[in-house]
Symmetry: C2
Subunit: 357 residues, 2 copies
DNA sequence: GTGAAAGCGCTAACAA
DNA sequence: TTGTTAGCGCTTTCAC
């Protein structure tokens, strides 16, 4: 933990005011004329406290400016109400959507999300996981299935539910909510093939650490080879790859000797950058070159032409994870019945960037 | 707090394993042969512990799978290392950038961000603030300067630094890091005027709760009247207004009887939607109509033509807030010297959507 | 429906 | 450099 001793804030007007320490349950109890235990029960709606007593307690507490102290509650009850989640980056609306979906469900159940960013780095993830576990979350959600050995050990021995998302790892630590990025990319290549593409290119980031990006590339290569299509791979920039980088990358493709019929991008952002670059150069999409993205970002729908993309249902991944955790942490029987692997099948969304109207 | 008692995870293989309770400091102390106090000091790098002792302690702790328990530390030391922040929505890369900037600085200082979403609703904000204060954060950051009376009371009496961001409230609760949305919009209108626009339209969301949106509209109206320009106001959808809604909104403008020279949007997302809609209809931007956005989203730079926008320096707002808080919570002298109001002047970025090349 | 006693796992304060 | 004692503010447990 960090930082200086707190200073109580003293407003200019009443500097002579005695600085009361903030009231605690015992103070409320004294004021109301009950025991601290009764105050405690009144604050947890469940307990058996007389309706009149409860109302009086809550009212006096409000008047005295009492704010319940969870740090004490957390320690004594060995329950924090925290759910930790690590994501590669907030700067990516897919992950932000997952957090949104998760938060919506958990907040409704009275749980607080503890967020950490790994910046696509497994060592950073390890540090973060340890940091977060010190807060004694009741469950932990991580993105992807690739971790350091120590991180796996930490997760396994934490004694709390662990959920890996956005991937289906070969040997999961605990629960899984996700899909196969490689398979999804295969389906995308199949679509391009049936739209008439013979020569493909894949645009992605430098994907050490970005296992989802790497999996998509693997799926692309596998499908291209299965269908005996020509292909090339372009890597540019560190993830999350930006619109600008997508634009730069397609320049390489367009300037190359061998022509290309279709470009698959690791995300819609890169795809949109590629699309606008084509428009700048007077290259027609999809007639001269098709462009496909990944992630069903808003831009895919609004761009002109619309971008063909793979909707990974980012928000659903989050809300499904949330429901799983609520069942595990709250549910009695349904908790035990929870499936270990929850598969969220991505949806291919075909649009004007790969099919001319 | 919520949920069921924890179950230790029992792997299928060794169900007969005795379920040890996780080790605590006292256990490590016993194993090493020192007092718990020495273990405690070893874990906080500062304290004066013999180098050899410290190493031995940390090594044995690691072997025993010990994970430091901050819940106990938090209670005893009355220090949590939390900084709470409420933002209207994660689904908005401007606020996400602010959180990113804040988190970067705070994480480096060993502080953990506690995030909450108000969904552009002051009552939700009040609930959230109370919820967050129960966690005993060492500081709290809120977006905007508009709060319920009770929320203001809660913030003021929390006894911790309060920072309002993304706005310069008339009567701030504590510190402020932001800018005037109205003034920024005035500057935008000045630009459009000097680019030759006479008849303007403003596209925004239904801004109950979105005070920044409302301030931008106010600034727009004030400037238009000052310059004696014709104008109309279009409201559509709830914030954050989407690309699609921007597209719908401009349809109203284009179909209206009175022609319009320039459209100002409350955000770049709406502006981009408007831009693509114009392109769909063969309306030339900027020759037939100029379009301006707000927020300097990536899309403003990559769109074709580029979008003229106002860069509010979202990430800087976050990092500046972080630096302020680190100074207040950690710094001795520099903490006291902190300015109450930190003004971050937005930058106008002129591009092809308002000026033809 | 309410209360008394004990203690969660650390660390402040003081002592050696 | 290390140890001892007490207690942070709640809630568990048991008693009535």
């Amino acid at each position: 933990m960090a930082s200086l001793p707190r200073k109580r804030n003293v407003s200019g007007k009443d500097q002579r005011t005695i600085l009361h320490k903030p009231p605690k349950m015992a103070d409320i109890a004294k004021a109301v004329g009950v025991s601290p235990m009764t105050v405690s029960r009144a604050f947890r709606r469940d307990a058996s406290v007389g309706e009149a007593t409860r109302r009086k307690i809550l009212q006096i507490a409000e008047e005295m400016g009492y704010v319940f102290d969870s740090t004490a509650s957390n320690l004594r009850s060995q329950r924090t109400g925290f759910v930790a989640i690590t994501i590669p980056s907030l700067n990516n609306s897919n992950f932000a959507d997952t957090v949104r979906g998760l938060n919506e469900v958990l907040q409704a159940a009275g749980l607080q999300v503890l967020l950490g960013y790994t910046n696509y780095d497994v060592d950073e993830e390890e540090r973060l996981i340890e940091q977060l576990l010190r807060r004694r979350p009741e469950a932990i959600v991580v993105t992807g299935g690739h971790h350091t050995d120590r991180a796996r050990r930490l997760l396994k021995s934490a004694g709390i539910p662990v959920v890996e998302t956005w991937d289906i790892p070969k040997s999961p630590v605990g629960y899984t909510v996700g899909f196969s990025n490689a398979d999804a990319m295969c389906r995308m290549v199949d679509h391009l093939r049936s739209a008439g593409a013979q020569r493909l290119a894949f645009i992605g980031g430098d994907d050490k650490g970005d296992t989802r990006g790497a999996d998509r590339r693997r799926g692309f290569v596998a499908a291209a080879e299965r269908l005996r299509l020509e292909y090339q791979l372009i890597s540019l920039g560190s993830p999350p790859i930006s619109m600008r980088e997508g634009a730069q990358a397609i320049v390489e493709v367009l300037d190359a000797r061998q022509p290309v019929d279709a470009v698959v991008c690791v995300s819609d952002l890169a795809a949109f950058g590629a699309l606008t670059e084509c428009q700048r150069r007077g290259v027609s999409v999809p007639d001269d070159v098709m462009i496909a993205g990944f992630g069903a970002y808003d831009i895919a729908e609004v761009a002109l032409p619309g971008l063909t993309t793979m909707d990974a249902h980012s928000m659903t991944i989050g809300s499904r994870t949330g429901e799983l955790l609520v069942a595990l942490l709250r549910g009695g029987t349904d908790g035990a019945a929870a499936k270990k692997v929850s598969h969220i099948e991505p949806t291919l969304r075909i649009s004007g960037s790969t099919v001319s109207r």
